[in-house]
């Protein structure tokens, strides 16, 4: 590891942290300008004026915004996310369970989708412009074009209701074994895989095809290597940077963008949790969720950048 790389990496990490701080300001400001009154949203139509006044007082909604921001930030740095306004539970605890569920779903989907996408991308390159390539492209593009809730409902109807192979409602609980959990999330994983597959597959294909134009590929071919070996040993490593970028974007999507899938399959993850609390104006929870989503996004993008930096031969071997 040389100094230039270390310096670039340090810069990149510092930038991420700064970005995270800015995001925290944005999230806080955003939740402040939401229309409507927290107390009124919590109590709904049947709120009496007395109950409203009591609740507002209890929630401390009367302190100035900047003061509440610094209180919040201070708590965050000590690992204290605060308490939910609506049911008084510890947010860290409540989110912990939901976040681990979301990560479980995302990881399972990623473990299936990423290798599959790269493998299909390689196959597409191998059979470029022939029927396997066209078939893979057509199917994966069709899957990504259909809205995910529709794929969800279709799978739910055929696989869940008609065939009865997998549960249509993916609710997890503590008493389930690992395999029962996997079985419970079969359908959401299938939907997520279909949704993220095309993007990564197409990018792998395009990036490798781009590299395939290079003179060293020709050299490799001329020295008698088979097509698959050329792609695997020479083209893929040089195409890794754009592919990693797309993979990371899709991983981030699997964590932060699965609200619809979670709602459709009633999966107890972060998305559903966030939606519930936004509609009740439970600001501390919304802020905590927002920050976690932002951290995941920033972290994964940072990893993608770092991999690109490390994969760049010009940086690894400076003159």
């Amino acid at each position: 590891m040389n100094r230039i790389i270390l310096r670039i990496l340090a810069q990149r990490i510092a930038l991420s942290l700064l970005l995270l701080l800015l995001v925290s300001v944005l999230i806080f400001a955003g939740t402040q300008i939401l229309p409507g009154d927290v107390a009124a949203s919590i109590l709904g139509q049947s709120a009496t004026p007395e109950a409203l006044a009591n609740l507002r007082e209890e929630l401390g909604l009367n302190a100035p915004a900047w003061q509440r921001y610094f209180d919040w930030l201070g708590g965050l740095l000590q690992g204290d996310l605060g308490r939910s306004l609506t049911n008084g539970r510890d947010i860290g605890e409540a989110i912990g369970q939901r976040l681990s569920n979301t990560l479980f779903l995302a990881t399972t989907a990623a473990v299936i989708a990423v290798p599959l996408a790269i493998f299909l991308g390689l196959v597409s390159v191998l059979y470029r412009d022939r029927w396997p390539d066209k078939l893979i492209s057509a199917l994966s593009l069709a899957a990504v074009s259909v809205p995910e809730f529709l794929i969800g409902y279709i799978l739910m109807f055929w696989v869940g209701v008609q065939l009865g192979w997998a549960p249509s409602v993916a609710i997890l609980n503590d008493t389930m074994t690992f395999w029962e959990r996997l079985h419970a999330i079969t359908l959401p994983v299938a939907v997520l895989t279909m949704v993220v597959l095309a993007h990564m597959m197409r990018m792998t294909r395009a990036a490798i095809l781009n590299v395939m134009q290079s003179p060293y590929i020709e050299t490799a071919e001329l020295k008698g290597l088979g097509t698959f070996a050329v792609i695997w040993r020479h083209a893929l490593p040089n195409a890794i940077s754009p592919v990693v970028n797309v993979v990371m974007l899709n991983l981030a999507y699997l964590v932060v963008g699965v609200v619809v899938v979670e709602v459709v399959f009633v999966y107890p993850g972060m998305g559903q949790f966030l939606v519930d609390h936004v509609s009740k104006r439970d600001v501390p929870v919304v802020q905590a969720c927002g920050l976690i989503f932002a951290s995941v996004y920033i972290l994964l993008n940072m990893v993608a950048d770092i991999v690109s930096i490390l994969a760049n031969p010009r940086l690894r071997h400076p003159k």
């Binding site: 709904g44 109950a51 609506t86 249509s168 609980n173 503590d174 009633v266 519930d276």
Partner: protein, 527 residues
């Protein structure tokens, strides 16, 4: 054919199909008369069977819910409260009392003082024995002015509460013949020590105790071994899954993952009913979808304009199109046959463009469009209903302008603030409470700004009247006042529509609230 027969038999039992019609149609399906007749009888397993785990897929729950009965507003907290806890009395579908933690109740001659005899030998889930003091403390918690309890409005008419041996005595500020009904409010679940210490502990006296609580996801209950009433609590365990997406809910019912679902959308109810192994149950409720005008704001301060709009709405069409037939027409009063002491002889108002035009002309309105503010937050299909209203009013020459509002903040920014908007009322246990909540001059939620001293006086008079005949006459008079003079346009009452799998036995039609007024877990059993 089995499916078709089942459906016919069900309809016959629910009274939608006459017995004679049923026999004729069963014969058409190739059944002998005796065989068809036997289908109408009670099923062989009318005797409750113990065992099994009941799974319910319920909409109307959020991650923000808690087990505190005082905070119960939406469907899921309602069901959890009703499953782990009990109130002093319950109301049967026919309006009679079902005594739970009170054994009996006695009013004083003027209906101001009520004495409840508290049941003995009842145990809380934490092992404590129920005492009259627990009852008193519970009622104190809900009537404290600092409470956020949804039952505060109910408790406000109470001047004093005290204990006398086994008796819990309530003094009302004014005579109130309905007091026991008010004590059936689902927030008033009796908790040990009144729930002051830990309101959300989920400890009650119900047939099931809470074993797992994950707000917005699932709740687990198991049968409470020392429950006092042997005739209830037949399942070993009950699991409630929070499924807010209606398609997911129905799919879970169809695939057998759950046995009961609530909030079946009227549009899909008939389709769902055709699926094998389940049936869709519907029962007329007290909830009503309404349009409300402020009687004190121009142009709605003109009685003729209000009448014009009331005649300009097509109620039958709305029930058909907005509720897909799963509802009944309203009559511009917030009361229907589901309430005790309802006067069914009040003539039904119907769509009459000529009369509407006549009243509109008489009102002298300048012809500028009348702005109606709506959002689907008011009730499912509110925007469509407003458009139907706009068309039927246009036929009478009345110009309506629909202004769509965001769902977000509808209840805080539009309802009870703007002069003409769509709204929803969930209904109350008794007429008095419905009128006191929204039609009394000084009510907080007088959302039609209806100020009428005579009406207020009648309301108080009816409240203290113990003679049902006289009371019914008073309510009838009040209904006519609201119908002709008030700011309420009530086109329809919605049904509670639920999906139930065939193995669930003991289902009862109960329109007080959804899913047998929350008593399905304690009263049903598996075949």
């Amino acid at each position: 054919m089995k499916k078709e027969l089942d459906m016919l038999a069900r309809k016959a039992l629910q009274g939608q199909l006459g017995r004679r019609d049923f026999m004729a149609r069963a014969a058409a399906l190739g059944l002998t008369a005796s065989a068809a007749s036997s289908l109408l009888g009670q099923p062989a397993s009318a005797q409750p069977v113990k065992g099994g785990t009941l799974r319910m897929g319920l909409g109307g729950g959020e991650s923000t819910n808690s087990l505190d009965p005082a905070a119960a507003l939406s469907q899921v907290p309602f069901h959890t409260s009703r499953t782990f806890g009990e109130t002093l009395v319950d109301v049967n579908p026919d309006g009679s009392f079902d005594f739970r933690l009170a054994e009996s109740v006695e009013p004083s001659a003027d209906a101001t003082t009520w004495a409840f005899r508290i049941r003995k030998g009842v145990e809380f889930h934490n092992g404590q024995t129920l005492t009259p003091d627990d009852v008193l403390q519970t009622m104190r918690r809900h009537s404290d002015e600092n409470t956020q309890s949804g039952a505060l409005g109910v408790m406000r008419g109470i001047a004093d509460m005290r204990l006398d041996g086994d008796m819990f005595i309530v003094e009302c500020t004014t005579p109130n013949a309905d007091l026991p009904y008010l004590m059936s409010s689902y927030q008033l679940v009796i908790q040990p020590g009144g729930g002051f210490e830990n309101p959300a502990a989920g400890i009650g006296t119900g047939a099931y105790k809470v074993t797992a609580e994950e707000p917005g996801v699932r709740y687990m209950f198991e049968r409470f071994g020392n429950y006092w009433d042997d005739s209830r609590g037949h399942f070993d365990a009950v699991e409630m899954l929070v499924i807010n997406d209606s398609t997911a809910r129905n799919a879970a019912l169809q695939s057998g993952q759950v046995h009961i679902v609530n909030l079946v959308e009227p549009q899909v109810a008939r389709l769902l009913d055709r699926a094998p192994g389940l049936s869709v149950k519907s029962v007329a409720g007290r909830g009503h979808y309404v349009f409300i005008m402020h009687c004190n704001t121009a142009p709605f301060d003109n009685k003729d304009l209000r009448l014009a709009l009331k005649y300009a709405i097509n109620r039958e069409e709305m029930v058909e199109r907005i509720l897909s037939g799963y509802g009944t027409v309203g009559n511009d009063i917030p009361i229907n046959a589901a309430y005790p002491l309802f006067d069914a002889s009040i003539p039904q108002r119907t769509y009459d463009p000529e009369k509407a035009a006549e009243h509109y002309k008489k009102s002298g309105h300048d012809g500028s469009p009348i702005v109606l503010q709506v959002a689907d937050a008011a009730f499912p299909g509110a925007v469509d209903a407003a458009q139907l209203f706009q068309q039927s009013a246009a036929a009478a020459g009345i110009p309506l302008e629909i202004k769509r509002e965001p769902d977000d903040g509808y209840w805080s920014e539009v309802w009870n603030k703007q002069p003409f908007c769509a709204s929803y009322w969930g209904g109350r246990p008794v007429q008095d409470q419905m009128y006191s909540t929204a039609y009394l001059s000084k009510a907080d939620w007088n959302d039609t700004r209806y100020f009428d001293e005579t009406f207020d006086k009648l309301l108080l008079e009816a409240r203290g009247e113990l003679d049902d005949t006289k009371r019914k006459a008073l309510y009838s008079e009040m209904a006519n006042m609201v119908r002709d003079d008030g700011g309420l346009i009530c086109p329809m009452f919605n049904d509670f529509v639920e999906g139930v799998r065939d193995e669930v036995q003991g289902w009862e039609q109960n329109g007080i609230w959804e899913v047998m007024n929350g008593s399905a877990p304690s009263r049903c059993w598996f075949a």
